[in-house]
Symmetry: C2
């Protein structure tokens, strides 16, 4: 299918540009966490920077998020809360969290510079509170600043590195991503970056040598051409909002019915870079999030598939449990709870069935005869090994090594199945594929060579974390801000093009 003319992204040639409306050292496309961080650093190094933002205001996906940032190696907050962490220990965990095919150089830099990067974010005015939120949550709502956000405590990761909480949330109640982004946006303005909102970059402009020398944009219907003396940074988000791209590159993510991002995450940044020969990699991977908890008590339930079999340790990070719901359970998953566990459930949870016995629940869910009964009996046997403990929790999960603190036999009727099926529950998604790039942002072509004048950061590039099933919350904002900074510094130091 051909794209409509307005959606075309093939590059323009410099000789097709009759007039450059603006000219800057550095042109940044997208005013989210990556673009904003890059703008701050490039300006501070003396570059003349403009940021072109397609929405009416910057912020990007980060402004819509909880604002968790993955820091470690011994931040002041970690120390104040009594947690020992080191660069080496953080790195041992991040190597797993980033996925099997991540870039070792990105992992190394990210961990070595984590304390410095934390202080940099604080220096922008983002406040953190030295208090530890000792709960398993997907979106912490208190103003506590330290929380476990990945698989640090879950099998098998807990055996690889000494667990330490590394999710750092700004000291604000509720969702704190907006608060975090306000600090970045203000710092970028203060540093002197020019900001053009409501300005959608439509195409890159290349000269006869293949160097990217500017962009062609549109603002309120009017064309705007912007020449970039040192380079263009695409920090324009991922492609979760582009269903055609998902079908072509990341079919598993089509099961998601909630975009973790903005409508701007339509892949245009990635496609503009591909169209000048940049290589897109890791495109099939993404983070899938089915929030089957809170309440925290749900972790004491068991996740089963359409055969009534368990398929994952329930205390793993939801990126892993959700990936397993898709890949292992084929999108046909239920959380089985008893009345005590069910607790204060959330409005977005729907119940597939409620029955007085597991036998009836099995029938109501049309699971294979005897399958759920057997699974629960076996789980209860494993969990009853902790029956003697003071709070009734404990046991030994022979199948999936769920931690004893979440185990308790299911026994208080009625029993319910929280619906986690695709199409019946909320599956959020974001993409983890994008343009191949050096840690300092240079976009790479299929030969692994930098494309002169073109840089990428944030979800437009294949960044730090490459797999949703290994992910930890905070890695995306951490990646976008940190590598955005590196790209901004690199751009400020780049040679001017000869165009």
């Amino acid at each position: 299918m051909s794209a409509p003319e307005a959606d075309r992204i093939r590059p323009l040639r410099a000789e097709e540009i009759a007039r450059w409306d603006r000219e800057h050292d550095v042109v940044i496309v997208g005013f989210g966490a990556a673009g904003g961080s890059a703008a701050i650093e490039a300006c501070r190094l003396g570059a003349d920077v403009v940021v072109l933002e397609r929405m009416s205001r910057g912020g990007g996906a980060t402004a819509l998020s909880t604002g968790l940032v993955y820091f470690g190696g011994g931040t002041e907050i970690q120390k104040a809360c009594g947690f020992d962490d080191s660069v080496e220990n953080m790195r041992a965990y991040v190597e797993r969290a980033a996925g099997a095919h991540a870039d070792p150089e990105r992992i190394r830099l990210y961990c070595e510079d984590s304390v410095e990067h934390f202080e940099w974010l604080r220096s922008l005015g983002v406040e953190f509170k030295p208090s530890f939120h000792d709960h398993k949550v997907t979106h912490p709502t208190t103003d506590d600043s330290l929380v476990y956000t990945g698989n640090e405590l879950a099998w098998p990761d807990g055996e690889v590195a000494t667990p330490a909480p590394r999710g750092h949330k700004p000291a604000r109640e509720g969702e704190a991503g907006g608060y975090l982004m306000e600090a970045i946006l203000e710092a970028a303005r203060d540093a002197g970056a020019g900001i053009v909102n409501d300005c959608m970059v439509e195409r890159l402009v290349v000269d006869g040598t293949g160097r990217v020398v500017g962009v062609a944009a549109r603002s309120f219907g009017e064309p705007l051409t912007v020449r970039a003396r040192r380079g263009v940074l695409l920090a324009a988000g991922g492609f979760i909002a582009n269903k055609e791209m998902l079908a072509q590159h990341a079919p598993d993510l089509l099961h998601c019915n909630y975009d973790v991002g903005t409508p701007g995450d339509d892949g245009r940044g990635i496609r503009m870079a591909m169209a000048v020969g940049a290589e897109a990699v890791n495109m099939s991977e993404g983070l899938i999030l089915n929030s089957w908890y809170p309440p925290e008590s749900h972790l004491e339930g068991i996740l089963v598939d359409g055969r009534g079999q368990r398929f994952v340790n329930e205390d793993a990070y939801i990126g892993r449990t959700s990936d397993a719901m898709i890949r292992k359970a084929d999108g046909l998953a239920y959380l089985i709870v008893d009345d005590e566990i069910y607790g204060q459930t959330q409005a977005f949870h729907k119940l597939a069935a409620v029955e007085e016995t597991i036998e009836d629940l099995e029938r109501a869910l049309e699971l294979p005869e005897g399958a759920l009964v057997r699974t629960v009996a076996e789980y209860n046997r494993d969990a009853s090994e902790g029956a003697g403990s003071s709070n009734g929790r404990g046991g030994r999960d022979r199948l999936f090594h769920k931690a004893p603190k979440w185990m308790r036999p299911l026994g208080s009727p009625p029993f319910a199945a929280v619906d986690c099926r695709v199409g019946r529950s909320i599956y959020g998604g974001l993409t983890l594929g994008g343009i191949a790039a050096r840690a300092t942002g240079e976009a790479l072509d299929a030969d692994g060579e930098p494309i002169p004048g073109l840089y990428v950061a944030g979800r437009t590039c294949a960044g730090l974390c490459r797999e949703g099933r290994t992910y930890a919350s905070g890695l995306s904002i951490g990646d976008a801000t940190y590598f955005g900074r590196l790209a901004g510094r690199r751009l400020a130091a780049a040679d001017s093009g000869s165009a």
Copy 2:
């Protein structure tokens, strides 16, 4: 990482070509099933065609294969063997076999033209025998020409379309792919195609408008430039032999330790096209093949994962069972058999354990306590519902709907676990991602627009079948030959470039 100079694939500009050593209407890169079929058709329509083959002889992956081709809709062989089939019925099945995100136009054409395409292949001298091989096999070794090669009879596909065997094997014992390819190579030569062996195409050449106008190749160390008046067809295979590309695009396929292809399947064709702005899609998908049978009796065993749980219906096509071994069992799979089932096993099967009881087998495999015992007991209960039948087979597989003909309680000691683990058994793989293209071969850019002068076929493009877990044997050779023909015809009719 930058590629070594010799491996670089960025296009050359026409003005960099000092001299065109050769000039033809149509330049075909790769003399496999796709390139050969294209050459035949283009020559027959009067085009001046050259085929550049990097190996010392054509044949490609097809020459190394069993030579199965997926034909249907009522071929003479199907009719002679007493099977009713129709275009509509074939299409209902191929829509599933091609995968959820396949191109409907390719499916339609492939099914509508299948009888014609079968007769075309016969007209090249490829013989088929009207005999049905009534066995579940991965690589039929007899000279029978008709066999079931997909999930036609397996749940749930058997409920969607009336099952009909569509795997057509040339009437030769053993592997027949070489025989099939000899006919295609000879027909291409007879039609007048020029053949240059030992000639590796290294880069495409583009003119100032972006049109592909030729190729730069190397033959025995000497450079060779070839101008293409009408166009270049890349029919250069997939990328299973390029482990770096697999890591970037198809990480699941890195579990494969046997390339279903040739060393030429290094992705160079795909990368050359990407480098001129063609879009690569479906890159994460591939066919994974763990041949845990023959012997056919193995289908009466049960596949279990590291938790001792079943995870797939064992009578599904091995593309599906192998995909499940990776995605559902995390590469930790065993086939559990008893002495009667074990039968005449193959040299490439290794046993992970052999024990007198299931309890001992469970312990030897270090499966969770009681898990395998329970799984076997339950399977035996399901299978014993057929105990009254004349051959002892039958039953009802409550979990996965395996067909009764493969069910029999496991009961004759000793019991064995055939090792299907990643790293301990053979996982073959081929890639199913490639350049986005029209059914007639025009390579498409990120806007969905054809790149003038550039065509793709075979595994270099994202073709008919997009998912290994839905695949049926014969779809790749069917796709390569049929869409190779369409591309050859399209190229013969293409306008000459203005370069």
